[in-house]
Amino acid sequence: MKRKGNIYYDGSRIGNCLICITATILAFICVYPMYYVLVLSLSSPKAAIAMNTYLIPDGLHFDSYRVIMKDMTMWRAYGNTLLYVSITTVLMLVTCVLAAYPLTSSRLAGKKWLTVYLLIPMYFGGGLIPTYLVMSKLHLYNNIWAIILPGCFSIWNIILTRTYFISIPESLREAAKIDGASHFQIMTRIYLPVAKPIIAVIAIYTIVGTWNSWFNAMVYLPNPDLQPLQLYLRRVLVQQTVDLTKLPMEEVEAAVIRNMSNVQLKYAMIIFTTLPVIFAYPFFQKHFVKGVMLGSLKG
C-alpha cells in the first residue's frame, strides 16, 4: 500500500532495491563459507594451509578429489550412510504414523496419560552409560542397528504428526467408518494422502539428522567397515587439531606429516560429503516450510 510521503512503501523501486541488496548480502553470508571451502579444496596444499586465497583458487589442484575417489573407506562410509538414512527414514515414518494415528482418536482410553507417558522421555534421557549398557545387553554394540534403531523413533516427530492429524476433520474418519472402513484403511487411504506435507517434513528431518549424525557411531560402532560418512569426515578433520608442543619429538613428525597431507583433503571431503544434502534440500523445501508452519499453528 502506498503511503503518502513514504518512499519505502511496498513495491516501490527503492524498497525493492533495499530488499534485493539485503537478500543478496544474506545469501552471500550463507553461501560464501561453502564457496570458500570449495576454493581451498581446489588450491595447492600449502595455500590451503595458509588459508589466504579467498575468491579464486590458487592453482587448480584436483589431487585431493582424486584421493577421495580412490578412497575405498570413504565410499564404504558413503554407502553405509545411504543405507542408514534410507532405513531410518522409512522406519521413522512408519513409527510416527502408527503412533500418531491412535493418539488422534477421541475414543482412545487413557489418551491423556499415554501422551504424558510419551512426553517424559522426550525431556529426560537415560544418559550415555545406561544407554550404552542397554545397547550392549541387546547385542547392538558394533552392529548397524545401534545406529538405526535409536534413530527411527522420535517422540517429537510423533507429536508433530499427531498435531497434523488432528487438523484433519474428524468427519472424514466418521464418514469412512460408516462406509465400513477399518482403522488401517482410514489411516492409509484418508489420513496419509492428506498428510503428505508432514510426512515430507519428518522425512527431511530424519534424512538430514541421520546424514549429519556421528556421535552414536563413535560410541557404538568401532568397526570402521560399518561407520557412517560423518564419522569418517570427523576423523579427517579432528586428526589435525593437535598441540604439537605437547608431544615428544619423535611423535611430532608423524603428526606434522599427517597434518600436511590432510589439510587440503579435509576441504574436499567437506564438499563431497555435503553435496547430497545440498541437492536434496530444494526438493523438500516446499513441503518443509508448509509442514512446519501447519504443525506449529495448529498445535
Binding site: I49, I144, M218, D225, V238, Q240, V252, E253, A254, V256
Partner: protein
C-alpha cells in the same frame, strides 16, 4: 500406478532389510573370526584352548599415518610377534578402535564396566580418572602381576632399566596400576636429551647479511630487520615471531631464567618453582610488550587453541622465528618458499645477573598408559604376556624389525636401514608391508627404548647438530614436561589439584596475555601476586614439590 509405487516400496524395504541384516551379520562374523584366529576363548572367561590362553586387548589404532595395525596380518613382522606369544602359550584377541573415537569408547566401556578387555591401552585417560578406576577395582595392580606371575624377567628388566617409569607410575598405596612407555636418551653413553628452543630463519639471516642474535637485544634488532627489509620478499612488512607466549614454555621466557610451567622443576636444585615468583619475570613481560609494540610478535597467536594458526603463518612464509625442537625437520617442508632453513639459537642472555634456562625434553620419559583390568582372571597368562613384551627378542623386532628387511648388523650391532629412519618413506614402507614392530603395534604394548641421540644428530643439518652438541651439557635446565619427575599425587593431592588448577591456569594465561598486550600494568604486580596466592598457587607448588620429593625418595 499406485500399485507400482506400492510394489516398488515393498521391494525397496525388503532389500534394505536384507542388506542391513547382511551388514549386521558381517560385523559379527568379523568379530568371531578374529577370536577364532586368535586362538579361542578369552582369559577373561578363564578360557584355555589346548593350553593356549588368549589375552583380550582393547587398543587404539596406531598414530602412524600409513602403517596401520588393522593391516597387521599382511606384515611379516606380525608373524614374528605372534610366534613370540605362541612360544609362551599365548594368543591375542585384539579389538582396534580408530584413534579419534578411542577416548570416548574407552571411557564409556570402562565406566560401564561392561564387556571389559583383559588388557587395555589407557593412554587417553588422565591420571585422576585412571586412579579412580584403580580405586574402584577396575584396574589390577600391574606390579603384582610383574612380581608374582610369569618368570619374573620382565620385572627385573624394568627395575634395572626403567626404574624411573615405575616410580612415576606408582600410586600412594604402593601399587602400579598402569605400565607406561619408557624411554631413556643417551649420547655417548651419558644421559642427555634434546631441547625446545627458539629457531630463527637462517636463510633470511644470510639473505640480509645479518649475524645470528647473541642476546635478547640482538634478537629484537634482527626481527626488526626481517620486517623492515622484507625478508620474505612479498612487499609487505609481515615477518613475525610466531609462538604462543600465554604459556611459559616458549623459549623466550627461558632466556629470562623462567621455568616452563606454572609449577616448573629446576632440575639442578630439585626445586619446584613458579615463573610468576622468579626473578626476571617482570623484565620478561616488559620485553614481550616491547615486541608487541614493535609489531614483531604476532598477537593473534596468543592463547591459540591449536597449532593451526601458526601452521598457516608458517606456510605463508611469514614466520621469522618460532619455538620448536632443536633438531626438528618438519617445519622447513611446510613453508611456501625456496629452501627455507631454521637455525636454533639461545638460550640467549636477557637480563644481567640471570642465567638463561634451557627447556629440555626429559631424558627419562615415562608416558602413555596400559593396564590389566579385573576381567583378566588368568594372571599367569598376564605374567607371561609381560615376560614377552620385555624380552630381548621382542625388543629386537619392535625396535629394529627383521634383519635384511629393516635393519642390518653393523659392527655386531643392529642398525636401522636409512629408508626406515627416513620418515618421509613411511608411505612406501606401508605399501611394501615393511615395518619395524614399533611402527606397527606402538599403540598395543608399552615398551622400553634406550635412544642413542647420535642417530638424530647425524640425521639433521650440520647447524642443528652443532647446536645440539653445544647445549648438551648446558645448565640450568627445566623439563618441558614435569610429569616424568613426579610421583603420582595422593588421593587428597589429586582432589586439591583438580580444585585449583583450572582457575590458576586460566588466570595465569589471561594475566600473561594482558601484560604482554599492555592491557594490565606491571605497577599492579603485588595485586596479581595476591590473586595468585588466593587462587592457591603456593599450595599447588607445595603439592608438586611433595610429588618431586616422593619421586626422589622412592
Amino acid at each position: 500406478m499406485k500399485e507400482i509405487v506400492k510394489r516398488t516400496l515393498a521391494v525397496l524395504l525388503a532389500s534394505a532389510a536384507v542388506v542391513s541384516l547382511a551388514g549386521c551379520g558381517e560385523g559379527n562374523t568379523q568379530t568371531s573370526q578374529s577370536s577364532i584366529s586368535s586362538g579361542g576363548s578369552s582369559a577373561a572367561n578363564g578360557g584355555d584352548t589346548q593350553g593356549v590362553s588368549t589375552i583380550r586387548i582393547l587398543s587404539s589404532e596406531t598414530d602412524n599415518p600409513y602403517i596401520k595395525l588393522e593391516d597387521r596380518e599382511e606384515y611379516e613382522i606380525w608373524g614374528y610377534l605372534e610366534k613370540l606369544f605362541a612360544d609362551k602359550d599365548l594368543a591375542l584377541d585384539i579389538e582396534i578402535i580408530p584413534v579419534d573415537q578411542y577416548q570416548v569408547v574407552l571411557q564409556t566401556r570402562l565406566a560401564s564396566a561392561n564387556d571389559l578387555p583383559d588388557y587395555v591401552n589407557l593412554t587417553p585417560m588422565d591420571d585422576t580418572t585412571a586412579l579412580n578406576l584403580a580405586t574402584n577395582g577396575t584396574l589390577l595392580p600391574a606390579n603384582d602381576i610383574f612380581e608374582n606371575y610369569g618368570d619374573g624377567s620382565a620385572w627385573e628388566f624394568l627395575k634395572e632399566n626403567a626404574d624411573f617409569a615405575i616410580r612415576a607410575s606408582t600410586a600412594e598405596d604402593g601399587n602400579m596400576y598402569w605400565i607406561p612407555n619408557a624411554k631413556s636418551t643417551y649420547y655417548q653413553d651419558e644421559v642427555h636429551s634434546t631441547c625446545q628452543i627458539i629457531a630463527i630463519r637462517k636463510d633470511w639471516l644470510e639473505k640480509l647479511n645479518l649475524d645470528a642474535p647473541e642476546n635478547a637485544e640482538d634478537f629484537v634488532a634482527v626481527m626488526k630487520a626481517f620486517r623492515d627489509q622484507d625478508a620474505n620478499g612479498n612487499g609487505v612488512a609481515d615477518e613475525i615471531l610466531g609462538f604462543d607466549p600465554s604459556v611459559f614454555l616458549n623459549g623466550i621466557a627461558q632466556w629470562f631464567g623462567l621455568g616452563t610451567d606454572l609449577a616448573s622443576i629446576d632440575i639442578q636444585n630439585q626445586k619446584v618453582v613458579s615463573p610468576w615468583y622468579q626473578d626476571g619475570v617482570k623484565e620478561y613481560f616488559s620485553y614481550l610488550n616491547r615486541l608487541v609494540q614493535e609489531n614483531i610478535l604476532d598477537t593473534t597467536l596468543i592463547g591459540a587453541a591449536s597449532s593451526d594458526p601458526l601452521n598457516q603463518k608458517m606456510a605463508e612464509n611469514k614466520v621469522g622465528a618460532t619455538f620448536t625442537y632443536a633438531m626438528q625437520k618438519w617445519l622447513e617442508p611446510s613453508i611456501k618458499a625456496e629452501d627455507p632453513q631454521f637455525l636454533p639459537i639461545g638460550p640467549l642472555p636477557a637480563v644481567e645477573g640471570i642465567t638463561p634456562v634451557n627447556a629440555i625434553e626429559p631424558p627419562f620419559l615415562a608416558w602413555k598408559k596400559w593396564a590389566f583390568t579385573k576381567a583378566c582372571t588368568d594372571l599367569d597368562a598376564a605374567g607371561r604376556f609381560l615376560d614377552v613384551i620385555y624380552s630381548d627378542e621382542y625388543r629386537l623386532i619392535s625396535d629394529f624389525g627383521i634383519e635384511g628387511q629393516t635393519y642390518d648388523i653393523v659392527d655386531g650391532e643392529p642398525k636401522l636401514r636409512d629408508d626406515v629412519i627416513n620418515n618421509s618413506l613411511w608411505e612406501k614402507m606401508a605399501e611394501d608391508r615393511i615395518s619395524t614392530g614399533g611402527y606397527l603395534w606402538g599403540s598395543l604394548f608399552p615398551g622400553y627404548s634406550r635412544v642413542d641421540m647420535s642417530n638424530e644428530i647425524n640425521d639433521v643439518e650440520p647447524w642443528k647438530s652443532e647446536y645440539q652438541l653445544e647445549v648438551l651439557d648446558y645448565q640450568p635446565t627445566h623439563p618441558d614436561n614435569p610429569n616424568p619427575y613426579l610421583a603420582l599425587p595422593t588421593e587428597e593431592q589429586l582432589e586439591r589439584k583438580a580444585d585449583i588448577i583450572t582457575d590458576l591456569e586460566t588466570y595465569s594465561k589471561e594475566l600473561a596475555a594482558n601484560l604482554i598486550l599492555g592491557n594490565e600494568s606491571l605497577d599492579d604486580w603485588d595485586t596479581y601476586m595476591e590473586e595468585f596466592k588466593e587462587l592457591g598457587l603456593d599450595e599447588y607448588l607445595e603439592i608438586v614439590q611433595d610429588q618431586l620429593d616422593r619421586f626422589n625418595a622412592q
